[in-house]
């Protein structure tokens, strides 16, 4: 039987690339995003090109009921084999210094709280089988606090810790494998430019994520050369770090 995969944040960028990659591998998909205008054509495209089952649901992570979403998914797709939490939101210009309270809540809800709620409700089901997978997306932005992306980076670092805990718990339950990716800058509409670094192709990242299903990876960097950059940034003495306009 082909696996059933849920993608939260499927309408654009990495989520969409992952939907295409999994569809090509024959997965039945449940795609979730706030943009129904993009989910519908994407679902149609995947059904037509790959002859698979695709279900969609329009959910705004800022304002949703996790029990309703869970019931909707279970009713339509049944057993869940892979859960991908891709959704995220960043705005480096607004997320710096004093941040508007409403926007601060929005960033924490979308990048951390809602993701934790969704993972939490699926945890019992994910603990039932070792072949299941729980996949989360972090960011290299979370490696060290800096003046830009303050709340986004904090949320992603928090999420990384939560996934680490999930991995520990699920391993002790003989449950799902956990993969958490600290992603470098990708060529999507969310990233205007990679600065001095080349931007990764979401389709290449999606292929790697799909290839890694079933592996007990824990936390890792994609593309892998970001490990070196992160190591340098992490170990930069404060005297130097404080002078950097990053």
């Amino acid at each position: 039987m082909k696996p059933h995969s849920i993608i939260i944040g499927a309408s654009a960028g990495l989520g969409r690339a992952l939907a295409e990659e999994l569809a090509a591998r024959g997965h039945s998909l449940f795609l979730i995003s706030s943009d129904i205008e993009d989910l519908q054509p994407l679902a149609q495209d995947l059904r037509i090109r790959f002859n698979i089952k695709v279900f969609i649901s329009s959910v705004d992570l800022k304002n949703f009921y996790v029990h309703e979403l869970y019931a909707d998914i279970c009713n339509q797709i049944g057993e869940v084999n892979n859960l991908f939490l891709i959704a995220g939101r960043s705005d480096p210009l607004k997320d710096s210094g004093f941040i508007d309270d409403h926007f601060l809540n929005h960033l924490i809800t979308t990048n951390f709280l809602s993701i934790c709620q969704i993972v939490n409700i699926f945890l019992p089901a994910l603990s039932m089988n070792q072949s299941y997978n729980l996949v989360g997306i972090g960011s290299v932005a979370g490696v060290r606090g800096r003046q830009k992306n303050m709340i986004y980076a904090a949320s992603k670092r928090g999420l990384e810790t939560y996934f680490e805990s999930c991995r520990h718990w699920l391993t002790r339950q003989n449950g799902a494998k956990v993969q958490f990716y600290r992603l470098g800058i990708m060529n999507t509409s969310m990233a205007q430019s990679g600065g001095p670094f080349p931007m990764a192709d979401p389709h290449v990242i999606a292929r790697t994520i799909a290839n890694n299903l079933g592996k007990d990876l824990g936390t890792t960097c994609l593309p892998s050369w970001w490990k070196l950059i992160m190591l340098i940034i992490q170990n930069l003495p404060w005297l130097i770090f404080k002078k950097l306009n990053i």
Partner: protein, 441 residues
């Protein structure tokens, strides 16, 4: 974000704001303000770029949204490429009836250019196979148009250079694919006119025909020698393996061009000599996979890069049948007078075409040349413009990036009608491009 953007021939290089929305609501938000709609960015004449307004890419809107194998139609978003459609349709033994020669070209671009393939005498132009399209314009909202519904807007959009607004999706008629392979034969041509007569002689039997000629050295005794490549679908499926993934890499960015011209007046005669002899003596008969026939420029991207930063100019002329002989004679005289080496010379037939607005359509011999972009070439093309006007030939607006407006007005009888109707539809002229500004639209 400001970027250096260029036409494929490198004749137009500008700094412009390029936006690549990946959500429909963002795409519509950008289109609300007007600008230039950009597909793959491979226009020869800067139809998809603008220095003053925003350049809005449809790259991410490339989904197949409806398909009926039995009724033989396909609905795709405007950013969907020919290569993606080819990969999808070929295993189902279906194809688009008309396809230009590079897989990265988008369906939106095909609509806006009302493009042709190598089978015009059989299947006409792209616009003839469009069942319906969805257009967005800030003043009119979303309009679904077809030959029978809002036909005036439909006609204005087909071959309208993207000036009527944002094409969201297009429903296309399909045709059965006889085979995934084509048997190709090459016939020797002793001159341009000999080649023309040979193409005429096979037009009823060949599924596709194209002439290639060597005009690389205007003073050579071999001037005009070439071959006619004609193909027929194979009756047997000798190779049933799946298509390879099509990964087009052609890019109009100046940064991708070689710093100096690898294709020049010294190397060109050698390249052309080898290419002609290869096709006449070594590969006279071959069986090609379909993608190699449909997309001849695929895999030959180095040709475009080889002209270097100064680029090239392509001119494509539709010569009335009764003028072909005298035109080709005068063309050779003009070529010798200016001593212009021609990098690429091809010809194909157009038949039973309909002249509408600014579309390159009609009946006659479609004759194409690529030359270096320099002052001598500009003088040569000015003389060629006069010859074209004298014999009633029509020059493709989408190929020649220096074609003067007065020549277009002379050759395209409906230029004023198109301009008037475009202005009536969009009095604020929200959608502009370097092309539209240059040719007075």
């Amino acid at each position: 974000m400001k970027q250096i953007l260029a036409s494929l021939d490198q004749n137009v290089v500008i700094e412009g704001d390029l936006f690549k929305p990946d959500r429909m609501r963002h795409l519509i938000e950008y289109a609300q303000k007007g600008g230039t709609i950009r597909g793959s960015g491979l226009s020869y004449v800067a139809a998809g770029l603008s220095h003053s307004g925003q350049n809005i890419s449809t790259e991410f809107f490339n989904r197949i949204v409806d398909f009926d194998e039995h009724k033989q139609y396909l609905k795709v978003e405007a950013g969907c490429t020919l290569g993606r459609i080819f990969e999808f349709l070929t295993p189902k033994n279906l194809q688009l009836p008309v396809q230009p020669g590079y897989p990265a070209i988008t369906i939106g671009g095909c609509v806006a250019g009302n493009v042709h393939g190598k089978n015009h005498n059989k299947d006409g132009v792209f616009g003839q196979h469009i069942l319906e399209l969805t257009l967005f314009h800030p003043s009119h909202g979303t309009i679904i148009c077809s030959p029978s519904r809002h036909s005036d807007i439909f006609d204005l959009t087909i071959g309208g250079f993207g000036l009527t607004g944002l094409i969201i999706d297009v429903t296309l008629k399909l045709k059965p694919l006889a085979n995934r392979e084509m048997h190709i034969s090459n016939m020797t041509a002793q001159s341009l006119f000999d080649g023309y007569e040979k193409i005429l002689s096979i037009k009823q039997t060949a599924d596709m025909a194209l002439g290639w000629f060597d005009l690389s050295n205007p003073q050579s005794k071999n001037l005009g020698k070439g071959f006619i490549m004609h193909g027929q679908y194979s009756f047997h499926n000798e190779n049933k393996s799946d298509n390879e993934k099509i990964l087009p890499s052609l890019n109009s960015s100046p940064s991708k061009r070689y710093k100096f011209s690898l294709i020049n007046s010294y190397t060109l005669p050698i390249i052309n000599f080898l290419y002609r002899h290869k096709n006449i003596y070594w590969t006279r008969k071959q069986t090609f996979n379909l993608e190699k026939m449909l997309f001849p420029a695929y895999g030959k991207e180095a040709y475009f890069l080889g002209f270097g930063k100064s680029g090239f100019i392509e001119q494509q002329n539709l010569i009335p049948f009764d003028q072909v002989e005298s035109y080709l004679k005068e063309f050779i005289i003009c070529l010798k007078k200016h001593n212009i080496p021609v990098a690429l010379t091809t010809m194909k037939l157009f038949d039973n075409g309909k002249e509408k607005f600014l579309s390159y359509d009609g009946s006659g011999l479609s004759f194409t040349i690529d030359i270096f972009n320099n002052l001598a070439s500009q003088d040569f093309l000015s003389d060629l413009d006069k010859l074209n006007c004298r014999v009633g030939a029509k020059t493709s607006i989408l190929k020649d990036s220096r074609l003067p407006t007065k020549i277009i007005q002379y050759q395209y009888k409906e230029y004023d009608t198109f301009k008037r109707e475009l202005l009536a539809f969009d009095p604020k002229r929200l959608f502009q491009s370097e092309l539209s500004l240059r040719i007075g639209l």
